[in-house]
């Protein structure tokens, strides 16, 4: 995709200062390209370090290939960059360690995250991968809010949690995967028990 045809994240033009700003180009794993302001990139620790390390000039940004983000699709990346543009220049919050965490979801973020759970899931993965602290906070808060007023049985369905039996079975399976002989030993033991043997040996 050429730079001219790249979908640009909606930016409030009036809000852009007159001085020339650098816009980096990123490409999702489904080859969608995005132009993102330098200030917006600062919300992502991962991307910020990446562009710093690359040391691109304004010309490099235009002439070199877009920076590929291999494991995030275009739909998710668009949300990520919309969020970064809206929150550019804002301080990155520092975790004060308090639990339960108090996180307010701003109106813009709430609208942005008015998406299906599949996309929300991808958005959280992207926020985690790109290390966007506040986006991770608000998106995780949205997931936490799903638990409000739910009983344990309802939570199992909301979060697709395994039942006690499934949880135990998964643990056993994991143990067996580590020690394939365990199942054989157990079966052998059961067989000997059926045959009435008193001792394993």
């Amino acid at each position: 995709m050429s730079v001219e045809n790249a979908p640009v994240v909606d930016v409030d033009e009036a809000a852009i200062p007159v001085e020339k700003k650098m816009y980096y180009r990123f490409e999702s794993n489904d080859k969608k390209e995005f132009r993102v302001s330098e200030l917006a990139i600062q919300q992502s620790e991962t991307l910020n370090r990446l562009v710093e390390a690359m040391g691109y000039t304004s010309e490099d940004v235009e002439n070199k290939p877009a920076i590929a983000i291999e494991n995030i699709d275009g739909k998710t990346l668009k949300l990520v960059f919309q969020w970064c543009e809206h929150h550019k220049g804002e301080a990155i919050p520092v975790d004060d360690g308090s639990v339960p965490k108090i996180v307010e979801i701003p109106e813009f973020d709430a609208k942005l995250m008015d998406i299906d759970n599949g996309l929300l899931f991808k958005l959280i993965w992207a926020a985690d991968y790109l290390n966007i602290v506040q986006l991770l906070n608000v998106s995780c808060k949205k997931v936490a809010n799903m638990a409000q007023g739910k009983t344990p049985a309802q939570l199992r369905r909301v979060y697709l949690l395994p039942s006690d039996e499934e949880d135990e079975a998964a643990k056993r399976a994991a143990q067996e995967a580590q020690d394939p002989r365990a199942r054989e030993v157990e079966e052998e033991f059961e067989e000997r028990k059926r045959q009435g043997g008193n001792s394993f040996f």
């Binding site: 360690g97 308090s98 339960p100 638990a147 409000q148 009983t151 049985a153 949690l161």
Partner: protein
Amino acid sequence: MKTLLESYNFEDEVFEAFRLMNLPYLALEQVIKSMSLMEAFNLSICSPTLQHFVKYFFKNQQIKLQVHIYDGIQFRLESPNGSFISIKARDCLEDLDGCMRMKIGNASKIPFYYCDPDQNHVVTCWRDVVKGAIELNSLILDLFNIHFEKLHVWKEKINYDYGSVVGWINRMNKPIENVYFAKGTVDDTLYSQIINSENFQKCRIHQNPSENFQSQEFRFTDAHVNWQVFNAHWITLENLSDIGSACLKLYDIKFTDQEMSTFLRTLITGKFPNLEMIELRLNRRDLNLPLIMDGIVDRENVVMNWDVRVFDRFGYNTSVRGTIDVQMDTGETCSIKLYASAVYVFIWK
């Protein structure tokens, strides 16, 4: 294509399940840490794995626990940011049809219901209330970093076996900051178990043992930091021969004038190094003040101290004036305030 499990009708709204356990670790941590105590508690009983996560993510935050024992046993948990939940164990309701159920500790299908719109108060129903409380208590203590702030017991409202309650309280073996036993007549054996508990730092006991109750071996140890015993008619001079407490208020004691004098003379020797305040209220109003102060002060030259001093320790804020000040053998000063029915002593540290 979504499976039936992944998409379902939930109170007339179609929800798409969120694969919580597939989130990266850091995100899962953020989700659980953003939950209120009730949500985290409910999540923890969904699976042993989640119980482990909740426990791990909440371990650095001290949660205050209050236990109220009356017609049921209520656990009130409060986080430092003020959010709270209450979980109560009560006896089984007759009609449990349609009641929601959950697994709690080792008990399965325990009926429960919420009793407020915010769902901060959950009531669980048990055939044996104390066993239910034991399950809840061990779950809560395992899950959260608990500071046991309060234990309040209303004996007269308890309609289940009080012996089991006392046994459980004693087995808790966890220091409790503030304990209150409301009035009510109790079996002497149970009363004895309560007063001998070394887990109650600050304790008010209004309960009433029998008139004949005695406990010759009982002493206020340094575990009995700040105690008030109403109905203390059973306390003897022997019981006060050694005191590890800092503050004691004993009501309705049956000391003779001679016993009171002996106690005060022992006190001024500095035998009770932790003691800062003691209030002894008698069951009569005819204390012979000159007699009880005999040998402690020179009766001909008693000087009253009318300066106002404030005893501001262990939660008290008492103005002290009109006292007889006595130099103790330790060099400390104690102020003795005498009434016809009570003696107060403040030891200034």
